[in-house]
Symmetry: C2
DNA sequence: GCTTGACCTTCCCCCAACTGGAACCAGTAT
DNA sequence: ATACTGGTTCCAGTTGGGGGAAGGTCAAGC
């Protein structure tokens, strides 16, 4: 195997700059075991190789897609696993799309109800305001984003 | 004024149950000075009256609409202020609707890009997966939710 | 050799908005 | 007296890092 080239090592600042992440974040990912550096220099500096850089970019992009750190961890396992089937990945990603859909639906309902209150407010110098009345509960609909409020109140 | 009736006092559990909030949350709101109890019993119990209950309900609903605690604080000031103009309230609420719109737009863009990746994945037992490739960066579009990723990386 | 400045290390505290738990009182029923 | 429920305090943890202090390192310039 001619693959004995040690692939240029980078310090944390270097790899962070290239990956497009704050240095603090790269250090954090190392702390939580998401992307470990290839090793340490004699003086304790974290040293990253090209493979680690790829993982960091992967995570930055997955995070930008709204995946949580734990989901990223799972995606990285699949990313590293040469035996994984694309069905596993598709299942995870599909679930995430569904979650985004749910989130958008909730936001949309909220937005429309609030916009309705805003539209019903004359918005001049007079003190009476349908928005505040609506929030106070004298409005027809009693609880807007029920799935967000989720008040179990301990019981 | 015949309004000398001391309006039945409630313990924290009672008022929390009626307001539809967890007891812990009501105590938290008292701690951060959002809704102070009317007073304390001789033995130190927080005691709430009907006015405090109304404020708690108001906050629960405003929170369900996605207002932050600080926004709730501001809304409460307006709610309490008999001199405020409805224009102030409308401005705050309109800004919140706009924020919700922005948030939904970002989510929508994310959702569509991810759904596109999912659609392009055959999802069978084979290991090659366009979703992972897309996340790794070999995909045409380099950075999905640019406004969410916002990587300044310190510098 | 010495200094300067950029970069690295660890450590701890901070953010929102709570939630859970421990240890300890208060009030009521049996 | 005891059991049970519900109140009180404080402390720690959650997500995903950010800010900054105190101190070690590295390359360049004089």
């Amino acid at each position: 195997m001619p693959d004995a080239s040690p692939s240029k090592m980078m310090t944390i600042g270097e790899v962070a700059r290239i990956a497009g992440l704050p240095t603090k974040t790269v250090r954090y990912y190392a702390d939580i075991g998401l992307v470990a550096p290839e090793g340490r220099s004699a003086t304790g500096y974290r040293l990253y190789d090209a493979a680690a850089l790829r993982r960091l970019v992967f995570i930055r992009r997955a995070r930008a897609f709204g995946f949580s750190i734990e989901e990223c961890r799972e995606l990285l396992l699949l990313y590293d696993d040469q035996q994984r089937s694309s069905a596993d990945v598709k299942r995870l990603a599909s679930a995430h799309v569904a979650a985004l859909d749910r989130q958008m639906q909730e936001l949309s309902a909220l937005r429309d109800e609030l916009a309705h209150l805003v539209a019903s407010c004359h918005g001049d110098g007079r003190p009476d305001c349908p928005i505040l009345s609506g929030l106070a509960g004298s409005s027809p609909n009693a609880s807007p984003g029920a799935s967000i409020g989720e008040n179990d109140q301990g019981a």
